[in-house]
Amino acid sequence: MAIKPELPTNPSSLSLSVDQRLGNFHLQTELVLPACGVTGIFGTSGSGKTSLLRLIAGLEYPDSGVIQLGEQVLLDTRRRICVPAHKRRIGVVFQEARLFPHYRVRGNLTYGMPAHAAARFDEIVELLGITALLKRMPGTLSGGEARRVAIGRALLSGPQLLLMDEPLTGLDGARKEELLRFIARLTKQVEIPVIYISHDPEEISAIADHLVLMKEGSIQASDHLGTLLQRFDLTYALGGFDAASILEGTVVNHDSKYNLTRIALDATHQLTVPGTSAPIDSHLRVRIPVRDIALSLAATKGTSYRNQLTAIIDDMTTLPETPHTVELRLQVGNFHLRARLTRKSRDEMGLYIGKEVTALIRSVSFNSI
């Protein structure tokens, strides 16, 4: 079930080039983002993520710059164009739910709802699982419920772009997991581009397709998530991601006797993973932390590693931060895996770029989708 926005989503992208000084902080960014799928913006607090979001939403204006969404110029300081926030049609889910305390849940949901979006009300409310809450006042909602209402309110305002600023902040583990799963599903079903801000690698790797890495007010890197995770030079900037490889796979079958699931990564490569409830043929995002990959010179029998993939060493380097280890990028079929060895192992095994090895995968974790 895909929810179609009323206007066709703009095929072109969000591009911005802005300059803003706030005291000692200097935000200086040039960025082009895809206008589809989920873009994660990752960075430590104070890196300028939220400032960037406020500029896109029109809640703040830069000292100078241009912001363009598709063909539409939202801001151009030189041409003195500035579309105010309420005319941008950019939905925002803030860190706090920011529900209007004097409106019921229903009133909050319909606050920004244009007439043409009314038809989607029931659909979105059901999707969010908040039907039972419609008559409640925001003060009586739990944190997770309030977030879901806030997401619904933003969606129902008929946005052409949805911004989410750490929407899971302050939720406890189980609630967080549930809502994350929900947002991931939502972003697949709602055909509105999403920009998702977070400092949590787990959230980002669960739902982002594209990743923007921010540091001290500027863009450090911006690319497809999987591609960025393969870059050696970003290993420490993306430290929280455990240099994990993220792969997309399809469920092939379930082995109920041993509670295992087989996932196809492409036509010839499969992984056996702990059983999941995901239906056959459904899409899964798989995450393999670098510390869970071992290398062997040949396929081995008699090990407990369930998953062995034949790989070619694509690239190899030693990072200045960790002189005792070697970072490796392996080519498996047409995807990549990250691995890490001690320098000593590399020398003893005689590894070099282009050599064929077997990657032994100790464990695989899913990113809930």
Binding site: I90, G112, R136, M137, R153
Partner: protein, 233 residues
């Protein structure tokens, strides 16, 4: 006890002038309070001071300044008389202006505190939902400031009702036109042999004051209750 014609007249005038005063300062007060609560500009403390001046000035001074401004020879009054044939001194409208000016700072104070307590983040959220500035003010800011609006209005009404100095200076003490309860009471006290009539008027003033206190309490409780009811499932 039955009320005499003069007493009814004084009560009617007091209520009329009190309500008229609140009616004209309410829109202005909301605008000024919102402006002060949401904007920073050069000379803000000066504007703030000017608004609060009637609270600290002797009321007679305010009445005198009103005469200078709005009297027949006054800067604005001259023009009003010449072009619109409007003469404010010695009329109940003039009394409403004088008591309104005196009540204005109380209204702005209460309202401004309440408006400042409204989280600007809610207003920002409303703007991302497509609401214009006006709609945000009417649907978010003002409704959330209703407690302050109520308090401010009741305070201002009570102040306008009991206004004496500025009113008698600007609008004089004309029976049936500007002689409100406090002015009538003053007149009786000045007249020998009217002690019992003065006492009656004093009693009436106390009753009206108590009634408006009870009314405002009831209003406040009702709003609280309504909010709580809405909080129910």
């Amino acid at each position: 006890m039955t009320l005499s014609l003069a007493e009814w007249e004084a009560i009617r005038l007091s209520l009329l002038i009190g309500l008229a005063a609140v009616a004209w300062i309410l829109p202005l007060g909301i605008a000024v309070a919102w402006w002060l609560a949401r904007h920073d500009f050069r000379g803000k403390s000066l504007v703030d001071g000017l608004i609060h001046l009637p609270l600290v000035l002797p009321p007679v001074v305010v009445g005198y300044l009103l005469l200078v401004a709005l009297g027949r020879q006054g800067v604005v009054g001259q023009w009003l008389y010449a072009t619109l044939d409007v003469l404010l001194p010695f009329t109940w409208q003039g009394a409403a202006i004088a008591s309104g000016v005196m009540a204005f700072p109380l209204l702005v104070r209460a309202l401004r505190l309440s408006l400042e307590a409204v989280d600007p983040k809610l207003e920002a959220a409303a703007s991302t939902l497509g609401a214009s500035r006006w709609r945000i003010f009417a649907t978010i800011t003002l409704p959330l400031a209703v407690p302050g609006l109520l308090t401010g209005t009741v305070l201002a009404f009570a102040r306008a009702l009991s206004e004496f100095g500025a009113t008698i200076t600007f609008a004089s003490n004309i029976p049936g036109e500007t002689r409100t309860l406090p002015l009538a009471l003053y007149t009786l006290i000045q007249t020998p042999g009217q002690e019992s009539a003065a006492a009656r008027l004093c009693l009436i003033a106390i009753v009206i004051a108590l009634l408006s206190l009870v009314a405002s309490e009831w209003l406040a409780r009702r709003t609280r209750q309504r909010l709580q009811e809405r909080d129910g499932y």
